[in-house]
Amino acid sequence: MTAPARARRILLAEDDRFLRRACEAAIRQRGFAITVAPDGEAALEAARRERPDLVLLDMLMPRLSGLEVLRALRADPAMADVPVLILSNSSREQDVAEVTRLGIIGYWVKSNLSLRELGDRVVSFFEGEGDGRG
């Protein structure tokens, strides 16, 4: 396993300002670099520009929904493999099915997680990456 030379960059797409603030603080605290986007369009743009190592994606956002962002990413050959983790407070079955089909790391409901758990999971994702599980 290789410890990365640079800090991992994470893209957070979240429209709610409180959740955005809290998430950002928690991720930064773990030593990751983080870019935040307040809506779907900004998220897609930031993803293309920054090539993050992980995208934390909300589902219900203005401009472009999380699903639409994911579709666009997967359809783009340059971005097709970027790991995406859905962080949403909506859990409609058809949405879960659709994003799973498109390829995600996981689907987590924000109100069911503490910030600590969120951080832990992101860390363990990166630690598990080396043994081919990415």
């Binding site: 429209d15 709610d16 409180f18 959740l19 603030r21 809290a22 998430c23 603080a25 928690a26 307040p38 809506d39 219900l60 956002m61 203005p62 401009r63 949403s88 407070n89 909506s90 859990s91 409609r92 409901v109 924000k110 109100s111 503490s114 910030l115 600590r116």
Partner: protein, 699 residues
């Protein structure tokens, strides 16, 4: 059809035996007389206990003036009585016999007599007698010759009789056939019975006849027709109990009963009961026949000769029985036919009713054979699947479904499901069909169809239009999803903010900030829950509404005071007109406050800093008019249509602030409409909006 009838009972050697026999007999007497040199000859035949002239030679005329002789009377009578030839040499001198006759014969010039019996099967049936004018001793040969002639005569008579019998028999059969045909082809039951009675009367010749048929419950015999006593009322209905005597026995015993003598009369069960004195039943010589059909008795027929008191010839019973059998068969056939017609009508009525139900039901029903061909479909099915069953192309289920799917894969899926069911109909199945072409959703069920032998011959499919229900269901599920999300978001906010605050070192400046954010989230959550509750209660009509005359201007001033700091923060310019008048509407003040607060907050929120807000309150035509105009982001045309819908948020509103619930304007509309008013919006994207509501003024 005219029938040659034999009206008298059999046993009489009928002189209507035919001219042929008469001729034969005449020839014989003439030949006999000639051959034996006698001047006169005559044949007499036995009828009952009398001898009757059958043939005579010319000269025998004056001799045979008495057409009937009693047996034993006169010479001829003795021949018969003794059964042996009798010769008298000299009538004048012979003293042993009937002297009166002898004298008469002698006066006519006859002196001698020879008589021999005629025999058939050793029975004497008549005599052949010769009269000669001379005294004469007849030799044995002459006796033999005369006997030979007698034999010939007997043969001729027998032959004649047989011919007559055969003819009679033929005529009876013809008659029976004719009557039978008439009975069969008669149009009504009464006509049938009349044909029977008339035919029976013609062929068999009873004086009186009547037909009694079993009543519906089998406990009575009811008169069907009667013949022979025109002055009398028809026979009455009889109870089929032993009281009915011989009727009861004939019916239940299924045997014909003939009472031809007193001896017979004694043997039968007596007829008692209320009708015993009825003229129809007071008879001492009669025949009664049951009408039999298979193992059932359907009635009885009674016949007698009470009017003429003639004896009943037992031999006449056979053709009568045949007629009665025909009658029974014809009546039974009629009954069976009536039943058949009734059953047909019933089946037809049922079929009609089923067809009506089939066509009128609100479910589509379709019968499909195992090959997937549509055998029948009711109107609703044709509507739902949009096909016309008269077109042959629309006779195949898969073909009918095809135009409804735009995506081949979906069509294939549907087809596969139906195909699987057709292969194994017993399985039964059901599901939803999304007809993408029309946007309809149909719920279908399929069950095996069996024929009367319980073999599976296809499928019965039913279809229901569940488009509405699925849409509602989807809406509900969407709503739950949405609300879940809306509630979880501020909750996560509270949770995470407090977590951050807890991890800060004591005295950190961030703590207050985090806690502040947590509180704001909590407030948002509370607002959301309240809004949801209001909406729910307003929608279900359960909100307790306190409608009072309310000063709308004062209420507005109040709200403006509350938002004053917000207005200052965003540096808006606010003006209000008409607040010093006091238009009064009958409304629930609290609810109206929500409306005003909502509209004012929206105006503030969706107008960029330094904007203009104008409020206008007026009254005219019994209406209160309240309007707020802003210089804000406006509302795109497409969004304007849906602005007051539940959960709707225009896209440009969402970019400004993602925290709206989409309930605000919906609530405004609900409340305003509840008090009999209207609310609407005029706007242009990026050019501001004006929201107006009107309410009826308090009278």
């Amino acid at each position: 059809m005219p029938l040659a009838t034999i009206r008298e009972p059999k046993g009489r050697h009928s002189r209507a035996a035919g001219r042929e026999t008469d001729q034969m007999l005449t020839m014989i007497v003439n030949e006999a007389a000639k051959l034996l040199s006698a001047e006169a000859a005559a044949i007499r035949l036995l009828e009952g206990d009398e001898l009757v002239i059958a043939a005579r030679s010319e000269l025998a005329g004056p001799l045979t003036t008495k057409p009937r002789l009693k047996v034993g009377e006169s010479l001829t009578g003795r021949v018969i009585a003794s059964g042996a030839p009798l010769a008298v040499e000299d009538l004048l001198t012979e003293g042993r016999y009937d002297t009166a006759h002898q004298r008469a014969a002698a006066e006519l010039g006859f002196r001698s007599f020879l008589g021999v019996p005629l025999r058939t099967n050793d029975h004497p049936v008549g005599t052949l007698a010769l009269y000669a004018k001379k005294q004469r001793r007849f030799s044995a040969e002459e006796v033999a010759v005369l006997s030979a002639f007698a034999d010939q005569a007997a043969l001729a008579i027998e032959k004649g009789r047989l011919l007559v019998e055969a003819e009679e028999g033929r005529q009876v059969l013809e008659g029976l056939a004719a009557v039978g045909l008439e009975m069969q082809t008669a149009a009504t039951r009464d006509a049938r019975l009349a044909a029977f009675i008339a035919g029976a009367h013609e062929i068999v010749g009873f004086d009186r006849m009547y037909v009694l048929l079993a009543g519906a419950d089998g406990s009575t015999l009811e008169p069907a027709c009667a013949h022979g006593q025109n002055g009398l009322l028809p026979p009455p209905t009889l109870s089929l109990t032993p009281e009915a005597g011989v009727f009861y026995d004939a019916f239940h015993g299924r045997q014909s009963i003939m009472v031809l003598s007193d001896g017979d009369l004694e043997k039968i069960r007596p007829f008692v009961g209320p009708h015993r004195d009825n003229g129809w039943f007071r008879t001492r010589r009669f025949v009664i026949l049951p009408l039999l059909v298979g193992d059932r008795t359907i009635g009885v027929v009674m016949a007698d000769n009470k009017l003429t008191r003639r004896p009943i010839d037992p031999a006449s019973v056979e053709p009568f029985t045949l007629l009665c059998q025909q009658l029974a068969a014809v009546l039974e056939h009629e009954r069976a036919e009536r039943e058949r017609v009734a059953l047909l009508r019933l089946a037809e009525a049922q079929r009609t009713r089923l067809t009506q139900i089939f066509e009128s039901t609100s479910d589509g029903i379709m019968l499909v054979n195992l090959q997937g061909g549509i055998e029948s479909a009711n109107q609703r099915a044709r509507e739902l699947l949009d096909f016309d069953s008269s077109a042959t192309a629309d006779r195949d289920l898969m073909a009918v479904l095809a135009p409804h799917f735009h995506v081949a894969a979906e069509y294939d899926r549907a087809v596969a499901r139906f195909a699987a069911l057709l292969r194994d109909p017993e399985r039964a199945d059901g599901g939803d069909l999304s007809l993408t072409a029309t946007g309809r959703v149909l719920h279908w069920t399929g069950r095996a169809t069996t024929d009367t032998a319980t073999r599976t011959i296809g499928l019965t499919l039913t279809f229901q239009d569940v488009t509405e229900e699925r849409a509602v269901s989807q809406m509900k599920s969407d709503f739950v999803s949405f609300v879940t999300h809306q509630l979880r978001t501020p909750l996560a906010g509270i949770k995470w903010m407090l977590e951050l605050a807890a991890e800060e070192p004591a005295g950190s400046a961030e703590i207050a900030s985090y806690i502040g954010d947590a509180r704001e989230s909590a407030e948002r959550l509370i607002r959301l829950v309240n809004d949801l509750l209001d909406v729910s209660r307003l929608e279900s009509g359960k909100l307790a509404i306190d409608a009072q005359p309310t000063d709308v201007a004062a209420l507005t001033s109040d709200v403006l005071a509350e938002v004053a700091s917000l207005v200052r923060e965003k540096a808006h310019r606010l003006s209000a007109r008409g607040l010093d008048e006091a238009p009064v509407a009958i409304v629930d003040a609290q609810l109206l406050r929500e409306v005003v607060m909502n509209l004012v907050s929206n105006a503030i929120k969706y107008t960029p800093e330094g904007g203009d807000l104008e409020i206008d309150v007026t009254s005219a035509n019994g209406e209160l008019r309240w309007a707020i105009k802003d210089s804000g982001i406006g509302i795109p045309k497409e969004a304007q249509r849906r602005l007051f819908e539940k959960f709707f948020r225009a896209d440009n509103a969402v970019t400004v602030e993602t925290e709206g619930t989409g309930l605000g304007l919906y609530l405004v509309r609900l409340i305003v409409e509840k008090f009999g008013g209207r609310v609407w919006c005029e706007s242009e994207a990026a050019r501001g909006s004006r929201f107006t509501f009107v309410l009826p003024l308090a009278p």
